[in-house]
């Protein structure tokens, strides 16, 4: 009969890949071991800039088991044109081509790859490769790089230039209340738990299978095809399990280039795994400086926003982020201007890291907002409500939805914000100063064209598949739930497949668009299955469903049920038998054209959050404890409150790291990041994390994406760092304008 506990969209289904992960059944990129595989170990440059003048690999080659040492001197040919090295999401510029020539562009650049029969031999020999350099003057000092800041003529295609309104300079000059301060964010590295790695299977027929740590198997496939001149049909990239990404796997990283280069050169299977130290030799969140000038009337109404920021990039690519637009979009203010530039340094290219641009630019802006609220003698929440904008204030467009006001209200109630005492150093608990801080978070609600297939077997089992990745966010589970919801099947009858370049086309997993996009694709594919089932049911003798159309039936418990008389139903298996179908297979694509999205292009699509933080700071010593966070999120429809909550928790934890801990420290003399290990690059430990409460406010939004889903992978980090920074000010009266707020910054 009709299944009562329908598990579909909105159910807190435990992640379907959980057991595979905790039992070790889930295999990651470096856990494959094809027959005859060689182990590759990369040698990293010790200088920041210059040329390789000599390579002495005699001692390394003498190590038993060493098969080859690849450098620029003996590498096989790869594509010549820069554009052949571009990938779907890389920035404009000339992408890194490892071993292309003798040029060193950053410290840690791969300059040789040792291949050996054992990992131990490869690693040992790598230490014996003697490389002589002719060093050139480098600059890795961000402050010096600022002298060269610029905005490239060729923009990244996802970049949104700030749109100015009114006359911000004039309004600022006339404003009775002013904030004018410079804010900074240190360089951060993503540090996913799984190191970047590839295992390339050499099949001997010109085809390769690449097990890669990536957030986009088809991006890697296209890149490898272009770089190595191998037909895409002969390259299969697999990444069914990814041990965290945070953006570090959006672009093909150099490990996959090295692995495929070696495999094609030696015609053997090869595995390359980066060390944790080498994880600090590629992508990172750029260092940032942001100058915020705010003007307001005496009553606290904002009259001017001048938001200016510069972030770091390399000398060979122009990585750009949307840093300054968030404050301009979020606040009602008649005059606003933004200015964004990038500053080139002799480092590897910076890149997207969880909420790129917003985590930097919204956080730093929200500290400035806290400063203005204080000047206006307003509670930080009252100040934000006073300057609340119903529409996207920068673009002058309505939002498809914006339940930030509700997030403020529900978050404040859960936190007990109304008991906050105004002014710094007004609350204490023993010898700890207590501070309560608030910040707004904002991120894009994006949708990306995605295809999915669905296959219903004669026994009633369903498989749905798409070439998206699950970087730990719950994509497998979301796909399962949407399929369960659409076809009324129990989740245990459904298998979701992803992380395979052979599957239907999907974008890289990033930007928080995964759930909305693949969810829509799975839904249209399952609907197509439903239509075929209904057609098949007409072959059943006596036509029990009569001439019912798709709108006249529901799918429930593996049956097609007549809406007008739920007693009349047909088993899926019965319909398939009647039509003599062994399987029903479809592939469908969800694009921005479906579900009325095209007509809504003039609307802004964003997620919002209100993050409340409590800190306790030892008055004498400056030891900070973050004792409570409440993060109230307005992100449209939540497919799975359990995995969505996990995403917000992770974002909040990372935001606490941004506020207090994370900083990659550069030795500007050597041009090298120095704290390149998890012992000295600090992310929050268990002791640093106390109570985190996640609230999803009701935000029905049928317009934003086909399922009304906005995505939650990134919004959790955006408000957190500023909420903590503002809480530290409220506790101590000390305004620290550079993140992370380490203990030294809280000394007198």
């Amino acid at each position: 009969m009709a299944s009562s506990a329908r598990i579909g969209i909105g159910s807190p289904l435990s992640r379907v890949d959980g057991i595979a992960k905790v039992t070790g059944a889930a295999k990651y990129a470096a856990e494959h071991r094809p027959a005859g595989m060689l182990y590759g170990f990369a040698v990293s440059s010790g200088i920041a800039k210059g040329r390789i003048t000599a390579i002495d690999d005699r001692a390394a080659r003498a190590v038993p088991g060493v098969v080859e040492i690849v450098t620029h001197e003996n590498r096989p040919r790869t594509a010549w044109l820069d554009r052949s090295h571009h990938d779907q999401v890389g920035p404009p510029g000339s992408p890194l081509r490892p071993f292309y020539d003798d040029k060193v562009m950053f410290s840690g650049q791969p300059v040789a790859l040792v291949l050996a029969e054992t990992f131990e031999a490869a690693r040992h020999a790598a230490a014996l490769v003697e490389i002589s350099y002719e060093a050139e003057a480098h600059n890795t000092d961000f402050d010096k790089a600022l002298a060269e800041k610029f905005l490239p003529a060729k923009k990244r295609n996802t970049f949104h230039p700030p749109k100015n309104r009114g006359d911000a300079e004039k309004a600022f000059a006339a404003a009775p209340l002013k904030v004018d301060a410079e804010y900074r964010l240190a360089t951060e590295h993503h540090n996913p738990m799984e190191m970047h790695a590839s295992t390339v299977e050499w099949h001997g027929d010109g085809s390769i299978t690449v097990h890669d740590k990536t957030q986009g198997p088809q991006n890697v496939q296209a890149y490898l095809s272009s770089v190595f001149g191998i037909s895409a049909k002969k390259i299969r990239v697999l990444n069914p399990y990814v041990g965290g990404g945070f953006g570090s796997g959006l672009r093909p990283q150099y490990h996959v280039y090295l692995t495929v280069l070696a495999a094609t050169m030696l015609e053997r299977s090869v595995r390359v795994v980066l060390t944790r130290q080498q994880m600090f030799t590629h992508v990172h969140r750029p260092e940032a400086v942001q100058t915020v000038r705010l003007g307001a009337e005496m009553d606290g109404r904002l009259t001017a926003i001048l938001n200016s920021a510069t972030t770091s990039t390399s000398r060979y690519e122009n990585h750009m982020e949307d840093v300054v637009i968030w404050g301009m979009m979020n606040y009602a203010c008649p005059n606003a201007s933004g200015d964004y530039t990038i500053a080139p340094m002799d480092t590897s290219t910076s890149g997207d890291m969880r909420a790129p641009g917003a985590a930097t630019g919204m956080a730093l802006f929200e500290i400035a907002i806290d400063e203005m609220a204080e000047q206006a003698k307003l509670d930080p929440l009252a100040f934000r409500l006073l300057n609340y904008s119903e529409e996207d204030a920068m673009n002058g467009t309505p939002f498809t939805s914006k339940a930030l006001r509700e997030a403020f209200a529900e978050g404040a109630a859960a936190f007990g914000w109304d008991r906050r005492k105004a002014g710094p150093r007004t609350m204490r608990d023993g010898h700890e100063l207590v501070g309560w801080g608030l910040a707004t978070g904002m991120w894009d609600a994006m949708f990306s064209k995605t295809s999915a297939s669905a296959k219903l077997s004669a026994n009633g089992d369903l498989e749905v598949a798409s070439a998206l990745s699950d970087i730990g966010t719950g994509t497998y589970t979301v796909m399962t739930q949407v399929a369960a919801d659409t076809l009324g099947l129990p989740p245990e009858r459904i298998t979701a497949r992803l992380g395979d370049s052979d599957l239907p086309a999907a974008p890289v997993e990033g930007g928080s668009w995964g759930a909305a996009s693949v969810g829509a694709a799975v839904q249209v594919a399952c609907r197509a299955i439903g239509e075929k089932l209904l057609k098949a049911a007409s072959s059943i003798e006596g036509k029990p469903l009569g001439s019912a159309g798709i709108d006249d039936v529901t799918f429930d418990g593996g049956r097609i049920v007549l809406k007008s008389d739920p007693a009349i139903a047909v088993e899926f298996t019965e319909a398939m038998r009647a039509a003599d179908l062994q399987t029903i297979e479809v592939e469908e694509t969800a694009s921005a054209g479906i579900s009325g999205m095209v007509s809504q292009i003039r609307k802004s699509r964003n997620t919002h959050c209100a993050t409340f933080a409590e800190v306790k700071v030892d008055e004498e010593l400056g030891v900070v404890r973050v004792t409570r966070i409440v993060c109230a999120v307005a992100a449209g429809r939540i497919i799975n409150p359990k995995t969505a909550r996990s995403q917000i928790l992770g974002g909040v934890v990372m935001g606490i790291g941004m506020a207090l801990h994370e900083e990659t420290m550069m030795d500007t003399k050597l041009g090298r990041f120095m704290n390149h290990s998890l012992a000295e690059y600090h992310v929050p430990a268990n002791a640093d994390i106390d109570s985190i409460e996640v609230i999803f406010v009701d935000e029905p939004d049928p317009e934003v994406t086909p399922l009304g889903v906005k995505g939650v992978g990134e919004i959790g980090i955006v408000g957190t760092a500023a909420a903590v920074a503002n809480a530290i000010y409220h506790a101590t009266g000390k305004r620290v304008r550079s993140l992370p707020i380490t203990i030294d910054k809280l000394q007198d």
């Binding site: 404890r625 801990h661 030294d744």
Partner: protein, 337 residues
């Protein structure tokens, strides 16, 4: 990691024979040595695995003290009932360090012999006199927020990273060693050394010498002690500054004071003449502050770590107050007592 030969002796004399020639490293818990070997910082030609030696016990000494076997793990030591009861300062200091997993593997001998966490020492692409004598010190003029403010030299500003050793210094422990020339006992204050011009030498062990035990004297400081550790996150980070403080208070006056600092020098930092500033004083902020200044006299920053000078003084004052009040720092409740 280079190739090395490996021996696994079962008695101490055999271990010393194996350990005597050249580039040999004794392997105990391996929590530091193996990491350093993976990064080519340590390149022994021979590794002598001493885990089969009979040095795992913790036993009472006839004079009322306690002997900690060199191979007793940090966890077994910290949670030993005698250590908890008689030397709570030591128990607390051990629990302030590393993580449960590391403490389960790390040994007492290995703990005092662990090497600095200086970024440059760990990175073979950079200069470091400790790793490669004569190559220079990258940290001077480089990234040095975790570096020494006391007792450093022009050759090296590295710090000793141990928490346990700071408590052992305060407790006047003795290190029992054996070696090619027989047994000897080294007072803890003389065990580690300042870098001087010979930065590569962390301690005064002679080549081939092996730590067999650490002896704690009968003086226990169970009433007035604390281990206060300040670091860049609330757990699982090396000390920026740590303080082991122990007091004996009679009739409201301090009759003995011990203060050792971690994270500030190439060895656990103790200044006995500065401790005597407290003798005869009633516990007070001013008395503690005077002691803090005396202990940190001559402290010098190198840029990034300038803040440590003031922080060390504040930490000493706070630790002495915790000790005097009988409210030692908890290592699980991260609120500073």
């Amino acid at each position: 990691m280079n190739r090395f030969s490996y021996a696994r002796p079962t008695d101490v004399a055999e271990a010393v024979r194996e350990g005597s020639p050249g580039d040999v490293r004794y392997l105990a818990g391996g929590t530091n040595l193996v990491d350093l070997m993976k990064e080519n910082v340590e390149r022994p030609v021979r590794v002598v695995d001493i885990n089969r030696l009979p040095l795992h016990d913790i036993s009472d000494l006839p004079d009322g003290g306690l002997r900690l076997g060199a191979l007793a793990t940090n966890a077994d030591t910290a949670w030993d009932a005698r250590v908890e009861e008689r030397y709570p300062l030591l128990s607390s200091a051990i629990l302030a360090g590393a993580s449960p997993q590391l403490r389960n593997a790390a040994t007492n001998g290995g703990n005092v012999n662990q090497r600095t966490r200086c970024y440059y020492f760990y990175d073979t692409a950079t200069p470091c006199n400790k790793r490669e004598p004569g190559s220079g010190c990258g940290a001077i003029g480089g990234v040095n927020r975790i570096h020494a403010i006391l007792g450093a030299s022009a050759a090296c500003i590295a710090t000793h990273p141990s928490d346990m050793a700071v408590a052992l210094a305060a407790l006047d422990a003795t290190v029992q060693v054996t070696g090619p020339d027989g047994d000897r006992a080294i007072p803890f204050a003389d065990y580690h050394r300042l870098p001087g011009a010979e930065a590569w030498q962390d301690n005064n062990l002679a080549p081939g010498e092996l730590v067999t035990a650490i002896d704690l004297p009968d003086e226990r400081f169970t009433g007035h002690y604390t281990y206060l550790k300040l670091r860049d996150r609330l757990s699982y980070a090396f000390a920026l500054v740590s303080v082991a403080a122990a007091l004996k208070i009679e009739d409201g006056r301090i009759v003995e004071a011990r203060v050792a600092l971690g994270g500030v020098a190439h060895k656990p930092w103790r200044v006995k003449t500065a401790e005597s500033v407290l003798h005869g004083e009633t516990p007070s902020h001013n008395a503690f502050l005077a002691a803090a200044h005396a202990i940190t006299e001559g402290a010098t920053g190198h840029g990034d770590n300038d803040f440590k000078i003031g922080l060390a003084r504040k930490a000493i004052v706070r630790a002495l107050r915790q000790a005097a009040d009988g409210t030692p720092q908890s290592q699980t409740d991260k609120r500073v007592a």
